[in-house]
């Protein structure tokens, strides 16, 4: 920032100077996400594809290649095996179509019979193919419903331009998280879906805080272009934005490193999402307001604020 601008005691950063560049960046990121979704698709986990998963714990470190050849010998040619978390632990996946509810037990039993030592079954999961489909539909439906309701709430509390901007930001965030999962072909299971919805919640939280300031400043600050007012609002909330993102990212890192394999995907999705969500509340949500020519007239009717102010 070349010139130091102040509003009251807050130093105002000219965030919106970069708005065109940010728009280009976001569009590129979104296009990239769509492209990788088309090319690589999503590595849907067992929850969505159906199939069988067995997690075994050997009494001694085991070579995964040995497990693979053993599986081939036993006639499970479609099975894939990978080391999972520790050298003694193996995760075996059997794809959807031909498995039934008894497959997992059988794999564990037969491997155990062929192995001289002891194998403990840590986890067996079986999901029928119809269930997977149902879950996928449910997830999509939930996402749509959540977005629609949130849009209505914001339109009611703020104004339709705000609800439009917020939803674009949310779509932006979830799309990029999906894109990252597709690009790195990370397994996408139900917990990751939950994480994406949490990203929606988090990013929304962030966006609303900024919008709230924008609304307040449009009413309070008499002079200044919409762009200046957005800049003032963003600068005023910057401290809070960084503090909250900071604490959230700290706990997410703790989950990522200490939470274990079951919620690793969850933590990854949220880490990406929180990063993107923080960026998007500045450069997408607020930016969209400017693209839609938000102005003082949009906010001239005070939304029943008195009623709410009396509550605390």
């Amino acid at each position: 920032m070349s010139e130091k601008k102040m509003h009251g005691h807050v130093r105002v950063f000219n965030f919106m100077k970069l708005r065109s560049a940010a728009t280009v960046l976001s569009v590129l990121l979104m296009l990239g996400s769509v492209a990788t979704l088309f090319v690589n698709g999503i590595n849907f986990g067992l929850d969505f594809t159906g199939g069988t998963l067995v997690e075994l714990s050997y009494d001694k470190p085991i070579n995964v290649a040995d497990v693979r050849s053993e599986l081939d010998k036993l006639g499970f040619e479609d099975a894939s095996a990978q080391e999972y978390g520790a050298a003694t632990d193996v995760l075996i996946r059997l794809p959807g179509k031909e498995t039934d509810a008894h497959m997992g037990d059988r794999v564990a039993r037969e491997l155990n019979a062929a192995y001289p030592g002891e194998i403990k079954v840590k986890r067996v999961e079986f999901v029928g193919p119809q269930v997977g489909e149902q879950l996928r539909d449910q997830g999509g439906l939930g996402m749509m419903l959540a977005l629609a309701l949130v849009m209505m709430y914001i339109a009611f509390r703020f104004q339709y331009k705000f609800s439009f901007g917020a939803v674009i930001a949310l779509a932006h965030d979830s799309l990029i998280v999906l894109g990252v999962f597709s690009l790195l072909s990370l397994p996408f299971d139900l917990t990751v879906l939950a994480a994406i919805l949490a990203v929606v919640g988090y990013s929304l939280n962030d966006t609303i805080i900024v919008y709230d300031r924008v609304r307040e400043n449009f009413r309070k600050v008499r002079r200044g272009t919409p762009e200046e007012i957005v800049n003032i609002s963003l600068s005023q909330t910057l401290g809070r934005t960084l503090a909250t993102s900071g604490t959230t990212i700290m706990v997410l890192l703790s989950l990522f490193f200490l939470g274990g394999d079951t919620i690793n995907g969850f933590a990854t999705a949220l880490l990406v999402g929180v990063g993107v969500g923080t960026y998007s509340s500045i450069y997408i949500a607020s930016n969209m307001l400017l693209y839609m020519n938000v102005n003082r007239e949009d906010l001239i009717v005070p939304v029943k604020e008195d009623e709410i102010n009396e509550m605390p």
Binding site: Q138, T247, T262
Partner: protein, 626 residues
């Protein structure tokens, strides 16, 4: 200025105290235990069984913490010191006691009585934390509807024949439930339609004409199809519940999910093969005539009564009909005598069969025989496969047959009849239940299974606690560094938030899962947001030159609107997740939504209360530590 009236402090204190109290039971971890119960409900247990079990365990070198016989005498609970001992203990005890007893793994709560007497219990742990197995069964409801339609078709044909209306059956169209009948002229068709609508008012009928044939089309209404599907699922639910009870698992969950699925969750059960066998097993019923006194040997068999094995009766070898033909059974009271009775509905074929069998046998007795396939353990068998001799495990089933009712035939029976002369209402309702539960209304199959071994469960709990603690510690440090005294206030609020969240979940009986823990950790990260908002607002107001008191008041007031809007929208997302989600998504949604509510309480009211208590009395407040 910046003072709360006394009642406000007190009510905050009260709320916090209640939350802390109900969170307390979670500090007492469950004991690993085995539970012994009788294979049939008539068997009562006492100290002697407990003593036998303890002796067996001593011999096996397994340490026993304590034993207790349940007040009703239906089970014995043996607490162990080490969860690794559970499986060997179960095996040892069931080998010693035999098949008259069911031995199951159990997690026994250790909550002290002063807490349980106030209704305070620990949170339920999801299967991913406690270990156990989760099944999702799908009921083949279209089959149930199809069967019902077949029954109607048969009944309609009989009715038309009785009215001497000549018809031809039109072949069924694939994928369509509706059936058609063809007639030679319009008059016959119209009277046939009249007959159908009169005798089967539930059916929808429609007439049409094609290629010189006059057609009547009949079908079930949408509502009826839904009712039938509903009935089939409910019926299977009853059967599954009965079977799960046989497993003797503590706190099993058998629940309907969606339109045609049934969820079964068995915490602690590790032998999934056994569980699957019992859930998928078939029990059946047979109706047979009692043998005459002069019946030739070989034409009858002798059976025991289920309720009293000393009582026996001789029944003919011929089976009149089986339980598959019972379409419904209800227990109620005979309006004339006031005695208990069971009303039984049969399908068309069953009706014909029983009609034929009872026509010449009024005055004789008819018995209902209950047949059960009991799993008796595995047997090792040697088999020769590809020239090699291998050992295979073969499950052994024992077929058990017992009479559940023996009653005199009062008249020729048809599609529906009743059994009277039962001893008690309890017996009547049990008979009705067995008639219904004896066979499934529609076939079922497993569509989902998740088993979590106990070691993984423990690992998950450990990792969950670790990541929560580390996350919490990081936030506490951060807030102290950035906001000093106010950071301390926020940290107190945050810690209380965690306790209140646990307390709320315990009160509501919510289940804690691994994604739920992730939800808690995330809520902690986001919960400080409210405090951060307030504090940065206070700082801003201070910079604008407001006095500390004014700044505090302004900060809390101004930030409230933002906090409120932001939390409500996140809550919307949480509630939707809860409503549509299953399994892990639901677990996450519960903690996220509850966390938002508790964090709003702690971050706004509790931290304000602390700030007010600290600064409120000082009139000349020059500087605050923020």
């Amino acid at each position: 200025m910046n003072r709360y009236p006394l009642w406000k402090y007190l009510s905050i204190l009260l709320f916090v105290a209640v939350g802390v109290f109900y969170a307390l039971p979670n500090l007492y971890p469950d004991d690993p235990a085995v539970q012994i119960s009788g294979a049939s409900s008539s068997l009562t247990l006492n100290e002697s069984e407990a003593a036998i079990a303890v002796k067996v365990l001593e011999k096996a070198g397994i340490a026993v913490k304590s034993t207790e016989v349940s007040p009703r005498g239906d089970s014995v609970l043996i607490r162990l010191t080490d969860s690794e001992d559970q499986l060997p203990a179960k095996a040892a005890i069931s080998e010693r006691l035999g098949h008259d007893y069911v031995v199951a793994l159990n997690l026994a709560p250790t909550t002290p009585e002063w807490l349980t007497s106030m209704g305070a219990y620990p949170m339920k742990l999801g299967l991913d934390l406690s270990g156990g197995v989760h099944f999702l069964l799908e009921v083949d409801t279209p089959r149930a509807v199809q069967t019902r339609m077949d029954v109607y078709a048969g009944e309609i044909r009989t009715a038309l024949r009785k009215e001497r209306l000549r018809y031809r059956t039109v072949p069924e169209k694939k994928g369509s439930l509706a059936r058609e009948l063809a007639f030679n002229d319009a008059a016959t068709r119209d009277s046939a339609r009249k007959v159908i609508s009169k005798e089967f008012p539930d059916l929808q009928t429609d007439t049409s004409e094609s290629n010189g044939r006059f057609l009547v089309k009949y079908n079930l209404t949408e509502q009826q199809i839904r009712d039938l599907e509903d009935y089939a699922v409910k019926q299977n639910l009853t059967t599954v519940r009965n079977r799960v009870n046989e497993l003797g698992v503590s706190e099993p969950l058998v629940q309907r999910q969606g339109r045609k699925n049934i969820v079964v969750e068995l915490p602690g059960v590790q032998d999934t093969a056994e569980a699957k066998r019992i859930l998928g097993k078939t029990a059946n019923l047979e109706f047979r005539l009692a043998a005459n006194y002069d019946a030739a040997a070989g034409t009858y068999e002798t059976f025991e009564f289920r309720s009293d094995t000393r009582r026996t009766a001789n029944l003919e070898r011929d089976i009149i009909l089986t339980g598959d033909q019972v379409s419904n059974a209800r227990s109620n009271v005979d309006t004339q005598t006031g005695g208990p009775q069971v009303n039984i509905d049969l399908d068309n074929r069953g009706g014909q069969l029983i009609n034929r069998a009872t026509r010449n046998n009024v005055g004789r007795s008819m018995a209902v025989l209950f047949i059960e396939q009991r799993f008796m353990g595995n047997r090792t068998e040697k088999r020769v496969v590809d020239g090699e001799e291998i050992e295979v495990q073969v499950p052994i089933y024992k077929q058990e047959k017992g009479i559940i009712s023996l009653a005199t035939i009062q008249s020729v029976l048809g599609n529906s009849f009743r059994i009277t002369g039962l001893d008690s209402r309890a017996e009547a309702s049990e008979l009705a239940l067995l008639l219904r539960a004896g066979s499934l209304a529609a076939p079922m199959h497993f569509v989902e299974e998740r088993t979590v071994g106990p070691s993984l469960g423990k690992e998950n709990i450990r990792m969950g606690i670790n990541s929560t603690m580390v996350g919490l510690a990081l936030i506490i440090l951060f807030m102290l560094v950035v906001y000093r005294f106010f950071g301390l206030v926020a940290n107190v609020a945050l810690a209380l938030n965690l306790v209140l969240l646990v307390g709320m979940m315990s009160i509501l009986g919510a289940t804690l899962t691994m994604p739920g823990i992730a939800g808690i950790v995330l809520t902690l990260g986001m919960a400080v947001d409210a405090n951060v908002l307030v504090f940065s607002r206070i700082r801003e107001e201070l910079k604008r030159g407001l006095t500390p008191h004014k700044a505090i008041a302004e900060g809390f007031d101004r930030a409230f609107v933002s906090i409120f809007d932001a939390n409500i929208t996140t809550l919307i997302v949480g509630v939707i997740l809860y409503a549509i989600g299953t399994g892990p998504v639901k677990g996450f949604a519960v903690t996220l939504s509850l966390g938002i509510l508790t964090s709003m309480f702690t971050a706004i009211l509790v931290s304000r209360a602390i700030v007010n208590m600290t600064y409120g009395r000082r009139r000349q407040l020059k500087k605050i530590s923020i």
